[in-house]
Symmetry: C2
Subunit: 350 residues, 2 copies
């Protein structure tokens, strides 16, 4: 698989070493040499160029703050790598709060022996995505642990975003009659990772959906404001977890139509093969939103106007029939309760 | 050693399990059960109570943003634990930028098999320190990796602080004649960790100096404003690294007086035994500041007025004699260059 779906903007410099050693985490000359040629070169901006212990930023008003650590295995997978996952994931979390991402921090925990070319590919992906969406990586930290005490690379990204005005989202905003929309096919990321781990073969490669979807969610909020009642990206635990967390403890229920839930054919086959329900599988570049019934058609059309959300779908309704529960109706008229998953289906998916 | 130097404010709840499993990182019911009884209970505040993907905060003006990942081994050591280290470290980084810490994010990477009582002790320390200094843990993330793919617990803390006004710090502010002050004995943290790893025995236990020193640095900035030219906490790489990074590329030099550099007797013995120079050993609860010569005496007295900085000392001067270099003069009149360390002296010290 290719390591990087973005066109390499910068050739890898000659670091003078092939693998990361404990010394690169010392804070001394080796650390400086590594960072000068990678992080400080790729992410250059006014804040990070100062190389202080923190970045000084000008921020005014309502601000979203989010953090995520990524431990996905393998760190390169069809459709992406741990770096893309990290920056997209944190930017998406900010977007789901109703914010426009502005600043990212980058914390690396490297296992001794990581190939420096792998680190470079990960950093370059992060840099390309940040640049595409006008986000700055402003501060960071690098640690190295001994062989066998980590697993190649763990990445923490924390992010700061500026909240949009005139929005009101949250589970308390949901009302009966609202529609549940999903921005794209479910289970793609989880099954892409599993297909590599289990060595499954498909006619075409199943690629992770890791992508930033804050441009789409942001357009929805700009256009429909308080008619957008809820938004969340169904990562670990999948759609089942997000919908159960959303509806639990309310007097409402979610009623999904099985036939309306988009799942790519390869992901569906893989799920069937492994006995997994796509509603429980992790996604990375998809969000679920609950919108006022008045705007459902226009909202869906706006979502579909973005290539990355061409397969967006209206998958169900908020009702009062089964308070606190998520129900799926099959095409044949049967229904089943989708409960909160208990433990781990797919460890280290993100 | 005691796990927690703070008085337990909350007894550990009955989690119903003794160790962390992969399922606790799933994002499902097990994750919720773990977090509801620990993170959400200990850190309860308006932002985190919402359990959204990010926190929404009101921030106005110049803001500092910093991140640090902590991989210290062992996670409990004389004088502290990885949680204290993490929150103190990030709060200190913000303070060194000239900010007052306000908000912290907490990212946990847990190795399967960690005792839940160890996690509780770490979280409780973080909670106690946050409460003491009016800082809120507002957002977080928990991942679990398989046994042998991590090392008990890695902690990322990112932080946001409000910048003080009327300050101007940075290497470009340094002038000949300025004095170099240190807020306490050097090498304490590094040697406390090493004493556990190497099984060294002293007459009294050498304890890590992990502590928040932003109250002291903040008081200096409030009192002396732009007369404080530079501030940095000499963590990984020790004082030698901070001073070299500060002076490198300038026309100035740092001239230290060996006799003036405070080092606790046990730390000095341990350094001698292991052949380490205290200037290269990591500190956690100490900062170095460069101040205008006009205010040196008052600044030192202000520092010493805090119990935690009772051993603060004036350790040297900024000169133009050896541009870009750090020099130490011995009591006998000899002098040596203290260069930037190359690689790792003490891996995983923080």
């Amino acid at each position: 698989m290719t390591k990087n779906k973005f066109i390499a903007s910068c050739p890898m410099p000659d670091f003078g070493f092939d693998t990361i050693t404990l010394g690169h985490g010392s804070g001394g000359q080796l650390t400086n040499k590594l960072l000068e040629q990678s992080v400080f070169k790729l992410f250059s901006n006014e804040a990070i160029d100062k190389q202080d212990d923190g970045a000084v930023l000008d921020i005014h008003g309502k601000t979203a703050f989010s953090t995520d650590s990524f431990v996905v295995s393998p760190i390169f997978f069809p459709g992406g790598n741990i770096g893309e996952l990290a920056i997209n994931g944190t930017m998406n979390d900010l977007a789901m709060c109703g914010a426009v991402p502005k600043y990212i921090s980058l914390g690396l925990i490297i296992e001794e022996g990581l190939h420096v070319s792998d680190l470079w590919a990960v950093l370059e992906s992060i840099s390309a995505i940040a640049e595409t969406y006008g986000v700055q990586v402003v501060t960071g930290d690098t640690k190295v642990v001994e062989r066998g005490k980590g697993d190649k690379l763990f990445v923490n990204t924390s992010g700061i975003g500026v909240m949009k005005e005139g929005i009101a989202m949250g589970k308390e905003q949901i009302r009966a009659g609202d529609r549940v929309l999903v921005s794209g096919p479910l289970a793609t990321h989880g099954m892409a990772i599993m297909s590599v781990r289990k060595g499954l073969e498909f006619e075409t490669t199943l690629e992770s959906d890791t992508q930033y979807i804050g441009d789409v969610s942001g357009a929805l909020l700009d256009e429909f404001g308080q008619k957008i009642h809820f938004m969340r990206d169904p990562t670990r635990g999948g759609a089942a977890t997000v919908l159960n967390e959303m509806i639990g403890g309310t007097g409402f229920s979610v009623e999904l139509e099985d036939n309306s839930i988009p799942v790519l054919p390869q992901a569906a086959s893989a799920c069937e093969l492994l006995g997994l329900d796509p509603l429980y599988v992790a996604n990375e570049g998809v969000f679920i939103t609950v919108v006022d019934k008045e705007v459902v058609e226009n909202a869906l059309n706006l979502m579909k106007s973005f290539d990355k959300c061409a397969k967006a779908a209206d998958i169900g309704i908020i009702s009062e029939t089964y308070p606190g529960k998520v129900i799926v109706r099959s095409g044949l008229g049967g229904k089943r309760v989708v409960s909160m998953p208990v433990g781990e289906q797919l460890p280290r998916i993100c």
